[in-house]
């Protein structure tokens, strides 16, 4: 593997030009840094979601990037006045989870709960369906469409948890990971069915550019960084100050202990997935105006969030976020210096990180199965 990399350092793209350009050139470096931070901010958001989901449910949530894809493409569908396929997925998942809930309640012999589950499932489904079809046809204003997009995408989180992962909650991390990869394939496949092979963009929330100390940044980039920062602060507040957030953290530390203080692990899992879906959908809305998102865009974006999360050992929120920012920066610098090898550089980055983690800390084996 080192051979080709070393070889490419003398590749014609660099040598033939005879330009002594490097990434530290004052005209280049700030732009690359700003660009890296913009992308890194999105990766950081995703890495936080990944750490959260892993900490609470032990699920290594590979399909996190698919929420991003569903976010952008649902809004894009609404923009075109179409009813997004997301609605179908939502209704199918709602139906399955309602059936599961009803069966479970009946097994407990709790007819009232079963009726309640059935009724609320049907009512919710009908409500969302009516709202979506009406608003989609009416070509509602952007803000309404954004809210509708969140309404359609965010519930996918808890529903997927209910249908896919809750029945597996006693399984090993390995089994959960395999289920998670299978789900990723299903969601990407559905993305292609719902939205077609070509990507879409969504309208910009902010037009124009702003000059910041010699670097011109698009307002959209600034918005991405700003919203990401606000979201991260909100998450911090949520985990550190609110009872629910503390409960989630408690579940992460000790599932048994959390149960003792009255938090059901399934409720915590459901909540974690809701937050993950919300973060994913918002990220999708944030990047939608700058790039064309297609059905298979989400995976690589999610994976870059993963590299960040792994740098944080899948436990530390701040380290994961910093790691993700680092991924964004390295990606940006690499795309300037060695664009052919950018993917290799970004994904090989985790090897030294893993090696360092492996040597620097003592790991106790999780006693699975």
């Amino acid at each position: 593997m080192l051979g080709p990399v070393a070889f490419s350092l003398s590749a014609p793209s660099l040598a033939s030009k005879g330009l002594a350009l490097n990434i530290f050139d004052p005209a280049i470096f700030p732009i690359l840094t700003a660009d890296g931070l913009t992308n890194g901010a999105v990766y950081a958001l995703l890495s936080l979601a990944l750490v959260l989901v892993f900490a609470v449910t032990r699920v290594i949530f590979v399909p996190q990037g698919e929420f991003v894809m569903f976010g952008t493409l649902t809004l894009a569908s609404l923009q075109l006045g179409r009813v997004p396929g997301t609605l179908t997925l939502l209704l199918v998942l709602l139906a399955i989870s309602t059936v599961l809930n009803v069966v479970e309640a009946l097994r407990r012999g709790d007819g009232r709960a079963a009726g309640l589950a059935a009724g609320s499932g049907v009512a919710l489904g009908a409500g969302v369906w009516a709202l979506t079809t009406t608003l989609a046809a009416a070509k509602a204003p952007l803000l309404v469409q954004v809210l509708l997009t969140l309404l359609l995408v965010v519930p996918l989180g808890p529903l997927l948890y209910r249908v896919v992962f809750q029945p597996l909650r006693n399984a090993s991390v390995l089994v959960l990971l395999i289920a998670s990869v299978a789900l990723h394939l299903v969601l990407v496949g559905l993305g292609l069915v719902f939205f077609g092979p070509e990507g879409s963009r969504t309208p910009a929330f902010a037009e124009g550019n702003t000059a910041l100390g010699g670097v011109t940044l698009s307002n959209q980039s600034l918005l991405v960084i700003l919203v990401s920062a606000v979201l991260m602060l909100a998450l911090y507040y949520f985990f550190d100050r609110t009872l629910t957030g503390k409960a989630l953290r408690a579940t992460a530390v000790n599932r048994m202990g959390a149960r003792l203080v009255g938090i059901r692990p399934t409720a915590a899992g459901s909540l974690a997935f809701t937050v993950a879906a919300l973060i994913g959908a918002l990220s999708g809305l944030l990047i939608g105006p700058s790039i064309a998102v297609s059905y298979d865009t989400g995976f690589l974006i999610g994976l870059k969030g993963f590299v960040g999360a792994i740098i944080g050992g899948l436990v530390s929120y701040p380290v994961a976020a910093l790691g993700a920012l680092l991924v964004g920066l390295i990606e940006s610098y690499a795309s300037f210096s060695l664009s052919q090898w950018k993917e290799v550089i970004v994904f090989t980055l985790i090897l030294p990180v893993l090696l360092w983690r492996s040597l620097s800390s003592k790991h106790h084996d999780e006693e699975d199965e």
Partner: protein, 383 residues
């Protein structure tokens, strides 16, 4: 597994019997309807439904398989079509690597194959193995020559390249370098990006630093918007060229004002309505567009599907000739079909006029491409 194999055996046997009885012509189609090349493969697949159901009085049976843009699947599918479906002709597949891998299968079984992929290496040189292989899309070489000629006319001396980090971007880079060298244009920057990248700022800065007179974006479909948008955002004032891989409606829809001014070579079908009435491709192109949009909706037509249409036209010409010599389903028929394909002259397709020969299994010339510019979010023929 054993049971299913048995079931399959009987099924195959039944099919074989029925095929002999009817002697229909069987055409196998492989396209990349999913995976990275899906935006090219789907219109190709859609076009199959528009192809004639009978040719020369014989029923044509189409079997369409998806290779998911994957080489192994393409090869396996080709074998399946040949062995199980007993096809007389294979059309496909969408991508160059997979088409290259299919050559051996076609040659071994002596089944003619019409590839829908770009690279010249699929049909050149026409050696023993390639003697069974044809293709309809203009080669990258033909298209790159058109771009470079346009650059030369417009006094472009230096060019930068930003292309996909895959076979598509690789093929275009090679052709650009070859053609540019021949016409004295220097390629001053070559950068690569991935289809799913969220930013190409780094690559664009690198290209800009080399101060090229023009930039060629070697990408297909909607992901080709990003480099052009970023070049605009960074205030690039030179000419921006795209490849014919972007010639579909989604590129314009998503690109919007960001792709205004892009110059690209394309098959004449893209701007059939703007062609002079004297141009023979106008009628064919318009007919195809109307047929396609009639079935799949307004603005749905793309040039990729027209490659399948052209393959259909070649087939319509060659099958009747072959039918005179042998019965479908036989090795003689396939050989006759190959010879008939090789002998087709003056077929007016949506993309050009095909004149095939024993040494040229594409048969397109410079009439098969026009230069087009994006003006007011539509394709405008450059006269």
């Amino acid at each position: 597994m054993k049971r299913s194999h048995q079931a399959r055996l009987t099924l195959t046997a039944l099919l074989a019997v029925s095929s002999l009885a009817l002697a229909d012509v069987r055409v196998g189609v492989i396209v990349s309807a999913t995976g990275p090349a899906a935006s090219l493969g789907i219109p190709e697949r859609n076009t199959v439904a528009l192809l004639p159901q009978t040719i020369g009085g014989q029923k044509i049976i189409y079997t369409i398989l998806d290779d998911a843009s994957d080489t192994t699947t393409a090869v396996t599918n080709a074998r399946k079509l040949i062995q199980e479906n007993k096809v007389d002709l294979i059309i496909g597949t969408t991508t160059t690597p997979a088409s290259l891998a299919m050559i051996d299968v076609a040659a071994e079984s002596k089944t003619p194959m019409i590839s829908l992929a770009a690279s010249e290496s699929i049909i050149k040189p026409v050696d023993a193995r390639r003697s069974w292989v044809f293709k309809t899309p203009q080669t990258d070489a033909l298209m790159a020559a058109a771009i470079v000629a346009h650059m030369q006319q417009n006094k472009v001396k230096t060019v930068g390249y930003i292309g996909f980090n895959d076979a598509y971007g690789e093929g275009w880079l090679a052709e650009l370098q070859k053609n540019a060298a021949a016409r004295g244009i220097r390629v001053v920057a070559t950068e690569r990006y991935a289809r799913t990248d969220t930013s190409v700022t780094g690559q664009v800065l690198k290209v800009l630093a080399a101060k090229p007179d023009a930039v060629l974006v070697g990408a297909s479909g909607v992901p080709a918007v990003l480099p052009q948008k970023t070049l605009n955002d960074r205030g690039y004032a030179g000419k921006i060229y795209q490849t014919h891989g972007v010639a579909n409606a989604d590129f314009l829809r998503v690109g919007g004002k960001d792709v205004e001014g892009a110059i690209l070579p394309a098959g004449p079908v893209l701007v059939a309505d703007q062609l002079p009435d004297s141009n023979p491709m106008k009628k064919v192109g318009l007919a195809y567009s109307n047929l396609y949009e009639g079935k799949y909706g307004q603005n749905s037509v793309s040039t990729f599907g027209a490659h399948m249409w052209d393959a259909g036209l070649l087939m319509q010409k060659a099958i009747p000739v072959a039918l005179k010599k042998a019965k479908p389903g036989t090795a003689d028929f396939r050989e006759a079909l190959r010879d008939a394909l090789q002998g087709t002259r003056n077929i007016i397709g949506a993309h050009g006029i095909f004149n095939l020969s024993a040494t040229d299994h594409l048969g397109l010339d410079a009439r098969s491409r026009v230069m087009v510019q994006v003006v007011n979010n539509t394709w405008k023929l450059i006269k």
